[in-house]
């Protein structure tokens, strides 16, 4: 894309657009690395309790609806596709396409949150939210251990949901920014960075889905 670089705004600290793009890209990847370790602490807790409270985890996961989880997986994968196509359009400087793909991605993200809301409210209704109101009756299962499953479920999907929300806010800001600067060449760096972030959000869900909805076994 070197042909277009001259048109892009280059920050005062950078020598040229290439250095700027390199720096932003490296910065975003580093940020994603910190995110990996951020979620990592929770995954470690999951591994430890999953291996210690195996039966309770198997029993508790039947309370989750794997079909809704699967639906959300498909939604997020789709949004990753639309985001990738959006980034592509941005690099090729196709304004309408960018807006369209970003809009679709935003809709998918919204759909994901709606499904999440349905799931969460069902858990609250069935007293499956951990805490004093928690109730879990299943022969042979210690409710305390089942509660640990829901502790981790809410902690991990909640944190992931927060990331989806942040992604949605970022997309709104992106679209506004695009609109304000619609006369200029598209500055694709912010879109590219948002894309990386969004794929990471998808990636986390790819692990969360089998860990919570498909615990498997009997």
């Amino acid at each position: 894309m070197s042909t277009h670089e001259g048109d892009l705004h280059v920050g005062h600290q950078f020598e040229d657009a290439e250095q700027q793009l390199d720096s932003y890209s490296a910065g975003m990847w580093l940020f994603l690395v910190t995110e990996v370790l951020f979620f990592g602490g929770l995954f470690l807790a999951y591994i430890i309790y999953r291996t210690r409270y195996t039966e309770a985890f198997v029993a508790a996961h039947h309370e989750l609806d794997w079909q809704l989880g699967g639906l959300n997986t498909v939604i997020l994968i789709t949004s990753s596709l639309t985001m990738a196509l959006g980034v592509r359009a941005a690099v090729l400087n196709r304004m309408k396409a960018v807006l369209g793909w970003l809009g679709l991605t935003f809709l998918c993200a919204g759909g994901f949150m709606v499904v999440k809301y349905i799931e969460y409210s069902a858990k609250f209704e069935h007293h499956l939210f951990p805490g004093p109101n928690f109730e879990f009756h299943h022969a042979g299962i210690d409710p305390g251990q089942a509660q640990m499953f829901f502790n981790l479920y809410f902690a991990m999907t909640g944190l992931h949901g927060a990331h989806v929300l942040i992604g949605m806010i970022t997309m709104i800001i992106l679209v506004i920014r695009l609109w304000v600067m619609r006369k200029q060449r598209i500055d694709f760096i912010p879109i590219e960075l948002t894309g990386l972030y969004w794929h990471f959000v998808d990636l986390v869900w790819i692990f969360l889905f089998p860990l919570f909805y498909l615990v498997g076994g009997n």
């Binding site: 005062h12 600290q13 720096s23 490296a26 910190t34 979620f39 430890i48 951990p130 305390g144 509660q147």
Partner: protein, 559 residues
């Protein structure tokens, strides 16, 4: 800070300080130098608060009975001392103040890669510090800075959530700084500035950033889990909720042991600068010193279990951690010996930064070697959670990190403010700090082996003499710090104007005026020589060589 423009009549060149004096220009600045100054102001305030607590602790321990304050108050005092000093002073001290100020200049860049993120980091840090102070105003937290569960999550009656959020938020400031430095060092180096021409301070900062970026997220999620466990009773650590409290210790120390190196690695970087400058000689074994920083950073991630030898952790895992901890001895020994040997055939000058550097070598040697006692599993059974540990980490944190910070502050003060500080007072302060520090903490090694547990509000009578010595030392140490603050502030207004290169040092930061212009350099530097390229003498006659002759000639001229 605007004092720089007051004292002289002749028009001054535009520099980063006088370019715009409005409050707004400071609060919205994206200049890495100004952000460094903002950090300096914030952490100095936090150091003052943490220091007051330290003095109160030593006051209480003057007598064996818990008679000055209530035991709850004492518990809050040592907790707030630890939380403030570690999260709000030591971790940002050298990286965020001097790293921010010097690093871009040292690599010949106009700024860091992400100036706005840099400013955001200061705001986030200030928010975290504010939360920490809020917890203090609300009565203080009494968990110890380690926030061990289930005490912190289920039993304490103090505003733990606020203190934990403070540390959580400040963690993001740390991540932002680390991320910024890594990208800056990779992508923003001036032409010709190869990796092995980088000043060793930059290598130290790079290694530090590695820990900041890879470690901090883990403590963030851990503290978040503690807050959630406390607030919502959704937990993974409290045994009453089916959790395992030792898991908290694993997650906590996975960050908090490397965090020790966040504090000491930049200090080691500073040492390399000071020793080279004041010996007028290239650092001995540059590559070894550079790689040893990275080695320390990487090893720091695989030794955390040495904090947990008696916690109920598996004995075999303990052995793995113990042997890995022993490996840290290599890069540390490499650094110490290389610094010492750098002075060989150099021109050693004992200016105040060098006095701090020599203090550092002495104190860090003791601090590091006493670490061997604690890494040795059997001895740690006895020493764990005693004053021996307290003495050991103060030798590393105060004797290492803070002494290095003071050395660095004196070294770069002329560059940062454009003013010289009064050298005799600075030498005196270095001496007072050294004496006061040893008197404070050396008796604590003895107390530790005698068996005095840490975090004790009262203690058996027979240990009073050693505690009195320690408290006496603490007041000497405090007067040393106060002296530094007084003459540095004095110098802002009355200090002599600093030349561009007061120490006759190499390094890009000394090739630009003091204070530097807003964009650091008038034109982009191109680097053609190695770091620390001081003149080498080849004559064998034992006479003073060229450099010394030249210096003496200059002195005569001045006279």
């Amino acid at each position: 800070m605007s004092a720089a423009g007051v004292a002289t009549k002749q028009p001054e060149a535009v520099n980063y300080l006088n370019v715009d004096n409005s409050i707004k220009s400071w609060l919205l600045t994206e200049d890495h130098k100004r952000i460094g100054i903002l950090y300096l102001v914030t952490i100095s305030l936090m150091f003052l608060v943490g220091g007051i607590f330290a003095m109160l602790i030593r006051l209480e321990l003057l007598t064996p009975a818990g008679d000055v304050v209530m035991s709850d108050t004492y518990n809050k005092m040592f907790t707030m001392h630890g939380v403030i000093m570690i999260f709000f002073f030591l971790i940002p001290s050298i990286p965020a103040v001097l790293g921010n100020f010097c690093l871009p200049i040292m690599i010949g860049a106009r700024d860091v890669a992400f100036p706005r993120l840099n400013l955001a980091s200061w705001y986030v840090f200030t928010l975290g510090a504010t939360l920490g102070v809020t917890a203090l105003v609300l009565g203080g937290v009494d968990t110890g800075w380690t926030f061990y569960t289930p005490y912190s999550s289920s039993f304490s009656h103090t505003p733990v959530i606020i203190a934990v959020s403070g540390a959580f938020v400040a963690g993001f400031a740390s991540i932002f700084t680390g991320l910024n430095f890594i990208v800056t060092i990779h992508k923003m180096r001036a032409p010709g500035m190869t990796w092995f021409r980088l000043p060793l301070f930059v290598w130290g900062q790079y290694a530090t950033s590695l820990i900041m970026v890879l470690g901090t997220p883990v403590i963030a999620i851990t503290l978040l889990l503690v807050a959630v466990e406390r607030g919502l009773r959704i937990g993974v650590f409290d045994p009453a909720l089916g959790g395992d409290p030792v898991l908290f210790q694993h997650l906590f120390w996975f960050y908090s042991h490397p965090a020790v190196y966040i504090m000491i690695l930049p200090g080691m970087g500073v040492m390399s600068e000071l020793i080279a400058t004041f010996s007028r000689k290239r650092i001995f074994g540059y590559e070894f010193v550079a790689y040893s920083s990275l080695a320390i950073a990487v090893l720091s991630f695989v030794v955390w279990g040495h904090h947990m030898f008696v916690s109920g952790q598996s004995m075999y895992l303990g052995m793995v951690f113990s042997v890995l901890t022993t490996l840290v001895a290599i890069p540390s020994a490499v650094k110490i010996f290389n610094w010492a040997v750098t002075m060989h055939k150099g021109h050693v000058k004992l200016d105040s930064p060098m006095l701090y550097a020599l203090s550092f070598i002495g104190l860090f040697t003791i601090g590091g070697l006493t670490g061997l006692f604690l890494a040795a599993m059997a001895v740690d059974i006895h020493l764990h959670d005693t004053y021996f540990v307290v003495a050991h980490f103060h030798y590393v944190m105060v004797g290492g990190a803070i002494v290095a910070f003071l050395g660095a502050l004196h070294y770069w003060w002329p560059k940062m403010t454009g003013r010289m500080y009064p050298e005799p007072w600075a030498k005196l302060s270095a001496l007072i700090v050294f004496i006061g520090f040893n008197l404070t903490f050396f008796p604590q090694f003895i107390l530790g082996y005698l068996g005095m547990p840490r975090r004790y509000h009262s203690y058996p009578d027979e240990w009073q003499t050693l505690n009195v010595l320690s408290s006496a030392g603490a007041s000497i140490l405090a007067s040393g710090f106060i002296l530094v603050a007084v003459y540095l502030l004095w110098s802002l207004r009355y200090g002599a104007k600093a030349p561009a290169n007061p120490w006759d040092a190499t390094g890009l930061e000394w090739k630009t005026p003091s204070p530097p212009p807003p964009t650091n350099f008038t034109q982009r530097p191109i680097i053609t020589e190695e770091a620390y390229n001081y003149p080498i003498v080849l004559a064998k006659n034992g006479e003073p060589d060229e450099a010394v002759k030249q210096e003496e000639a200059e002195k005569h001229e001045h006279a």
